[in-house]
């Protein structure tokens, strides 16, 4: 499939209709998704109706928006008015939100065509999309492998060429890690840069919506559409976002890159080799490259696995069978709550609710929740120190290429280790991006990660653009 910018340009110029482009995407999904299960729900009628609106705008000479006619896949934790939104959970089966997430409205305004809702680990808890209550998504590059997670469905949709764009959410790496494993570009913006209104919460202080695309420029364009203040999200940043597209080709002369040992050590040798090559590429393009250590990152994982479950235990309390979603009856309200939650939540969600409840309990709160927040502060301070002498950090996105389906489902700790390189940015609220950079010994995509201080998305895209232009071999099309 052509890239998003080319499609939008063709639609805007009247060379192609949005309807045509949409039908192509729907056909591709119909033909290919049986083998991948990237989508939980495809919405052809809704997509066609959107496409017709875009075409009408073009015909009438109105601006159809920068993403005119571009199909996009939505992670199923983004609320869509009247369209089922499950979060990959049985507990929300059949629930139709009465409202659109802010980002969904922005996409429509930009002329994008939402074609369906993509698979995910239940409530975004997982790194392989195997925790979906509706079955796993398979990696388009090798259907014996996981696509990563939790936004595995959106990553797979883009990697498989179903849609040029996808939206995911990233709480501990849930955009970047599947982007790496599926060989696409994925970016987690600065916390507060993109409105969370209508994103079903996993861990409110960490969640952030971000783009998937096949290339850097498309990801930047989508980010520019999404970024901005939203009065419905109190944590939304009020400052006006800088557009990232205009400076994409400005190069990186003089940019100081820190190759972060703590985001490399412990990764598979083929992944480490790709990161080293990426560093050399950046140096060759005019950046100054140095090695840097941020030992505090090592504590990020444990802090994350207290803070995120603590917030989740509270965020997921509302699924009690009273107002919407699944209800399993009981003798009284409490019994009904218990029966509903027992039947409606999967094992990983229950594990994290218990973890989080424990971490917040009287007598444990200081030792766990408060201590984890202290560690979070330490990680933030460590970032600040690092950014005193460098502009961007470079490391791996995930420790390995895509792993076998089922390989880690019975070993939560092994699964959690997948997030070790991505979590620090969530704890600090900083932007970070994964870009495909060659392949591993198994021929599967490797993603390298770029990290930058808050609000430096434009810098991230600019550096990523250099890596993209020099990638050792174009990511093999699945």
């Amino acid at each position: 499939m052509t890239d998003a910018r080319a499609l939008a340009a063709a639609v805007r110029a009247g060379e192609r209709t949005a309807r045509e482009v949409t039908e192509e995407a729907l056909d591709a999904i119909a033909a290919g998704d049986g083998a991948l299960h990237a989508f939980l729900l495809v919405t052809p009628d809704d997509a066609r109706a959107q496409a017709d609106l875009v075409d009408a705008a073009v015909t009438q000479g109105r601006d159809p928006g920068p993403l005119a006619g571009v199909p996009i896949a939505l992670k199923d934790n983004l609320c869509t008015r009247g369209i089922p939104t499950t979060c990959g959970s049985k507990i929300l089966e059949g629930w139709r939100p009465p409202y659109d997430a802010t980002v969904v409205g922005l996409l429509r305004d930009a002329g994008a065509i939402t074609v369906g809702k993509t698979n995910m680990d239940e409530f975004a808890m997982g790194s392989s999309t195997e925790n979906s209550a509706y079955g796993p998504t398979l990696n388009p590059h090798d259907t014996g492998k996981v696509p990563g997670g939790s936004s595995g469905g959106s990553a797979a949709s883009v990697a498989a060429g179903f849609t040029p764009l996808g939206l995911g959410s990233d709480t501990g790496g849930s955009i970047r890690q599947p982007a790496a494993l599926c060989g696409v570009v994925g970016m987690k913006p600065t916390y507060g840069r993109v409105s969370r209104y209508g994103l079903v919460a996993f861990a409110s202080s960490l969640d952030q919506i971000g783009p998937f695309a096949t290339n850097v420029a498309d990801a930047a364009l989508l980010f520019d559409v999404l970024a901005g203040h939203d009065g419905r999200d109190s944590t939304s940043l009020s400052s006006k976002p800088e557009l990232t597209v205009p400076g994409l080709e400005d190069g990186i002369d003089g940019i100081r890159v820190g190759v972060c040992r703590n985001l490399i050590d412990g990764c598979a040798p083929d992944v480490v080799a790709r990161v080293q090559e990426a560093a050399e590429t950046l140096a060759a393009a005019g950046a100054t490259v140095e090695e840097i250590r941020v030992p505090e990152f090592a504590y990020g994982l444990s802090a994350y696995y207290l803070i995120a479950p603590a917030e989740a235990s509270s965020n997921l309390a509302r699924y009690d069978g009273v107002r919407y979603g699944l209800r399993v009856d009981g003798d009284d309200a409490a019994a009904m709550n218990t029966a509903t939650r027992t039947a409606g939540f999967g094992a990983e969600v229950k594990r994290r609710i218990m973890l989080g409840t424990y971490a917040l309990s009287a007598g444990y709160y200081d030792a766990y929740y408060v201590q984890a927040q202290r560690v979070r502060t330490l990680v933030m301070q460590a970032f600040d120190r690092a950014y005193g002498s460098i502009d961007v950090l470079l490391g791996a996105t995930a420790p390995t290429t895509a792993f076998d389906l089922g390989a880690k489902v019975d070993d939560p700790m092994a699964m959690y280790m997948n997030d070790i390189c991505t979590i620090p940015s969530n704890l600090a609220g900083h932007p970070a991006l994964s870009i495909p950079f060659g392949t591993g010994v198994d021929g599967l995509p490797v993603g390298v990660q770029l990290l930058a201080p808050a609000l430096e998305e434009a810098l991230l895209f600019r550096v990523a653009r250099v890596l993209e232009a020099a990638a050792p071999e174009g990511v093999r099309s699945p």
Partner: protein, 479 residues
């Protein structure tokens, strides 16, 4: 030693006040009492997945007014989540201020001069409302329950007192004074019967002279000042009886049953929820700047205590016990401006106060008021003798119905126009002529007969005569 005289009550009150905002605390839904169930709801106050709270700035303003009026320090504050499962709780957590409340460390002075410390006055959201259906509507036997989320997310301020209160009477005085302040600040309508002001009482007893506290019980469902007083007295007596019979008071929450006149155990605090408070990640810290705090301070009108003092001053600096009661009533109903305007317009203060505390107050529940000009003009007619007290009250009734008007015109409409002196003298002469024996006794000094002659004159004039003028004419004729 035995009996209640040996025991001292220790009482602290927690008052929940619904703020009189147009919209809810975290969404734009209407904040209204008595609407059809579940009409004032949206994704936010229903706690739908993906929804997020946005703090209502006017609710913050009202909370700051309350804090300022209670002499609290207004501080940077945060919100927390109080986690517990209950069907009336849309998110199964309540957003409330916990360890960093907006108002801390104030006090409230009662009319008797005593001061009750205010620990804190913090903001939180209200829950929905459950109605149990079937089997008599009792929570334990109901077949099912209906939930109305209109109240979900309505802004509340919880005002927590220090355990400084020592009697049921003082507790009632505190609640009444606080209600006056809530109304005066515009923060609330203070209606206990509609639940816009809800009072819970923490009650314990101890031997006089001890410093330590006894085990307390929290009493809920105190829906009126009368319930508050009765509930506290009952609970203190219950605790004293327990202790005197060698038993122990158990730390628990108790429900006041107004019809049975007793408190009943609801749940033991030991087995109460662990609320797992933690900072609300969907909201940012609330830091009212100095300019905002100063605007709130400058914008506050006089509080009830100041307004009572102003009326005492209008009475000449002192008030009888009856007048003090009238002053409290007038201030509680917000009629003091009317009284002061009438006094400024030349009306005698005691008369203005009495008419306001009685006749005007009786109609104020129905929302009936009149203009200060109209009130002052009426009082001038009454004190000038042109209208009798009975006539004045009748005119006042019509003025209230009409929201004001010219009292002279109303008096004329009622046929109360002042009678000419000659006409009155003629009627008095006729009455004397018709009652020669009584007249002789009156002339001989039997003043009680003034009443008889006045009554006869009134009958002859269809009540239009002024009693004082009749008496004066009788005295003149007696010589």
């Amino acid at each position: 030693m035995s009996g209640e005289a040996a025991w001292e009550m220790v009482i602290g009150l927690e008052v929940h006040c619904e703020l009189a905002t147009a919209t809810k605390l975290f969404c734009g839904c209407r904040n209204a009492f008595g609407d059809e169930p579940n009409v004032n709801v949206c994704p936010v106050c229903l706690g739908l997945p993906g929804s997020l709270p946005v703090l209502n700035a006017f609710a913050v303003e009202l909370a700051m007014r309350i804090g300022t009026a209670l002499h609290c320090e207004i501080r940077p504050s945060t919100f927390a989540r109080k986690n517990y499962f209950y069907p009336d709780q849309a998110k199964d957590y309540q957003i409330s201020q916990y360890d960093q409340p907006i108002n801390t460390g104030g006090w409230l002075e009662l009319p008797d001069g005593s001061r009750v410390g205010v620990t804190r006055a913090h903001m939180e959201e209200d829950t929905g409302k459950l109605t149990h259906v079937g089997a008599g509507g009792r929570i334990n036997s109901a077949h099912h329950a209906l939930v109305d989320y209109n109240r979900s997310g309505v802004p509340l301020v919880e005002i927590v007192s220090e355990p400084d209160i020592r009697s049921a009477g003082q507790a009632k005085a505190y609640a009444a004074e606080l209600r006056g302040i809530l109304v005066a600040t515009g923060a609330s309508d203070g209606r206990m019967e509609e639940g816009s002001m809800r009072v819970d009482a923490n009650v314990s007893v101890r031997s006089f002279g001890t410093d330590s506290f006894g085990t307390r019980c929290e009493i809920k469902n105190l829906n009126s000042l009368r319930s508050l007083g009765r509930g506290i007295d009952y609970e203190a007596a219950r605790q004293i009886a327990l202790i005197e019979s060698g038993e122990r008071v158990v730390l628990e929450t108790r429900h006041w049953d107004e019809s049975a006149g007793r408190t009943e155990s609801m749940r033991s605090k030991e087995e109460a929820n662990d609320y797992r408070y933690f900072p609300e990640p969907d909201l940012v810290p609330l830091v009212p700047d100095a300019a905002w705090r100063e605007r709130v301070r400058a914008g506050l009108g006089p509080m009830p205590a100041d307004r009572r003092s102003a009326l005492v001053a209008a009475l000449g600096g002192s008030a009888s016990e009856a007048e003090a009661d009238q002053i409290r009533a007038v201030v509680d109903l917000g009629l003091d401006e009317l009284v002061r305007a009438a006094v400024d317009g030349g009306a005698p203060a005691p008369l203005a106060l009495a008419r306001a505390a009685n006749e005007v107050a009786a109609q104020s529940d129905a929302g009936l008021v009149l203009t200060p000009e109209s009130f002052a003009a009426l009082l001038a007619l009454e004190s000038g003798g042109q209208l009798s007290a009975t006539q004045s009250k009748a005119v006042l009734g019509l003025l209230l119905e009409r929201g004001g008007g010219d009292p002279s015109a109303v008096a004329e409409e009622l046929g109360y126009e002042a009678l000419g002196a000659d006409f009155l003298a003629g009627v008095v002469a006729e009455v004397i002529a018709a009652n020669p024996d009584e007249w002789a006794r009156y002339v001989a000094g039997d003043d009680k007969l003034t009443g008889l002659f006045t009554k006869e004159v009134m009958q002859a004039t269809a009540g239009k005569a002024n009693g004082k003028e009749v008496a004066a004419e009788l005295r003149r004729l007696r010589g």
